[in-house]
Symmetry: C2
Subunit: 354 residues, 2 copies
């Protein structure tokens, strides 16, 4: 979807890697994350400071093979026993408020780890009664796009992973720099370079950053340097872009246009309900902006119980609300597809009537 | 160590990736491994056929973020229950003959998986008495460089992972094309590009290949395309190289030179024993060659009980035999360091006398 932008930027975001460069596992510097390229760390800090979406002061950066790997690394860091402590007797519960990202349960449970296990809805969890937990706070939320905070009752003995993949100005107003113990970001959702598989975590506690680094060492012995160097180049191109070719200006306009087309397509159609967002002041754009999420969280009204099946009859692919822990009357649809596919979707959606 | 070779090859192994290319998660084609780039798969097959070290006919290729990730993916594939079966009641034992690669135990156990657990030495394992198992067969073996086969007694109900990272003509004679159910290879050890984090598995059973792909999907949602494209370019440069600039000829000579220097350095020194390899016919070079492993497996003789500590006093870094499941009289030392570090090592080793 952002491909057209990157074509316009031409060589400024291109990278050449000679055959004899970047061969060794190790990177320079005295960082906790021993396989992280300094160039990437610098560009991450620079972009966050420019956008104002995260405090980087006093944070350790850990790079991962996408934010998925960092999510697993964070579960490991919060649940693995310290050498000086006795072993964790019970796997810690991993929870998130409904509707939650559909991959969280399977990512948490596929290894059948004795360290952590999926615990479901965070709203009904009580930290005092139900024991230690790791709460996943995704904000803006995937699938529904709403801004979120922790919801667990009695949360003093919990750990928190803030998944901020969509906390960028093209998707939501940047109201303040996020300032959490552990936040995750990814190139995939910020600039569109999903295939590069680069994510990063901002981590307060050096012990947690060390354990995450250890996880990645045991999991994949580091993170592709080619991808790290490419990610650094791309983030640099975003930060370097002058006002008229600014990435976030372009991507904001594309998202705004798509949401406008979407709202027009279902306007007055009693079959569908879209989420209703309030505008907020965006410190990056220095004006009020509307949330325009990367996903559409659509509700089928009336007698349609299985919204995904209903849409499939009209050749629209979606993921059922059941996968996100809620009713099949809801579906999630990507707003980041190619122009052609998005126009097909709008056309098909507009043609559906009772 | 192979950097000088790649400098000589210049642009033939360099890659340029424009900012707008390789953005999507998906790759083309109808392969089981949906995130694998066709170019890489083609070059993997081409190189194996050229070198003659592996049968590729009737194999599914699965690409991984280094062979570490593929090792974990294979454990998952062999131990995760099929949808139609009841759940595995007990974690399956993961075993390997002594001395085994020092990271196998921690890589197997760090997640405390309920699917598999480290089971130690394969020599003392009895498949009938001790139950189902996954045997890791590393050949040539890390740390000692010897050629290996399965050693478990009553092995009809086992699974096998053949780690063939070092089965290349610069390290060992290629006596026949390997022909196993599941073999692992890696760019790191074949061409020296460790930081690119690319490995591949050759897998007979499509169900196993599918489960490995699923593991990588849940672990890192695929493998960096930048790295895959670079790996394809590098493997192509190896296959394309004419006789006088052939990669394996160059790397064989470098290894031969190092092993010669090493043997001279300890000759007549009763303190140390090196492994003793027999030459074998190499179908790739079409002559007899000597094994010249990527690691030196050194034994301290006489009263030296802790060889690693002893060497440390002489400023030589090594990994103790204890880490590989055997006596601390043994150590492993890398033979793949930079020229400068290797020469320092040889000098320090030569100067040690009783």
């Amino acid at each position: 979807m952002y491909e057209r932008y990157w074509r316009k930027r031409g060589e400024k975001a291109s990278i050449t890697i000679p055959g004899w460069q970047s061969m060794s596992y190790f990177s320079e510097g005295e960082k906790i994350c021993w396989f992280m390229e300094s160039e990437l760390a610098e560009e991450v800090v620079r972009l966050h400071n420019l956008v104002g979406n995260a405090v980087t002061e006093g944070r350790h950066i850990v790079v991962g093979t996408g934010s998925s790997q960092l999510f697993l690394a964070a579960l490991y860091a919060f649940s693995s026993p310290s050498p000086s402590h006795h072993q964790q007797p019970q796997p810690i519960s991993v929870i998130s408020a409904l509707p939650y990202y559909s991959s969280y349960p399977s990512m948490t449970d596929y290894q059948k780890s004795g360290l952590y296990k999926w615990g479901g809805d965070a709203e009904t969890y009580d930290g005092e009664k139900d024991g230690p937990f790791i709460e996943l706070v995704t904000s803006p939320n995937n699938p529904d796009g709403y801004t979120r905070e922790s919801v667990v009752k009695n949360n003093t003995h919990g750990f928190f992973i803030h998944d901020l993949a969509y906390y960028w100005p093209h998707y939501t107003p940047i109201s303040y720099p996020s300032d959490h113990d552990l936040s995750l970001f990814t190139l995939s959702k910020s600039t569109g370079h999903a295939a590069t598989r680069i994510g990063w975590a901002l981590v307060k506690d050096p012990v947690v950053a060390k354990k995450m680094t250890k996880f990645i060492e045991l999991n994949t012995i580091g993170v592709s340097k080619d991808s790290q160097l490419r990610a650094a180049k791309i983030l640099k191109a975003v930060s370097d872009s002058s006002e008229e070719e600014a990435f976030f200006k372009y991507s904001y306009e594309v998202m705004a246009q798509r949401w406008k087309q979407l709202r027009e397509a279902v306007q007055g159609n009693a079959l569908f309900t879209l989420p209703n967002f309030s505008p907020g002041f965006c410190t990056f754009f220095n004006r009020h902006t509307h949330p325009q999420p990367a996903f559409l969280w659509l509700k089928c009204e009336g007698e349609i119980e299985d919204c995904a099946s209903f849409l499939r009859q009209h050749k629209i692919l979606s993921r059922s609300g059941e996968r996100f822990g809620v009713s099949p009357k809801y579906v999630r649809i990507s707003m980041l597809d190619t122009d052609e596919n998005f126009m097909d979707f709008i056309e098909r959606l507009s043609s559906i009537h009772l």
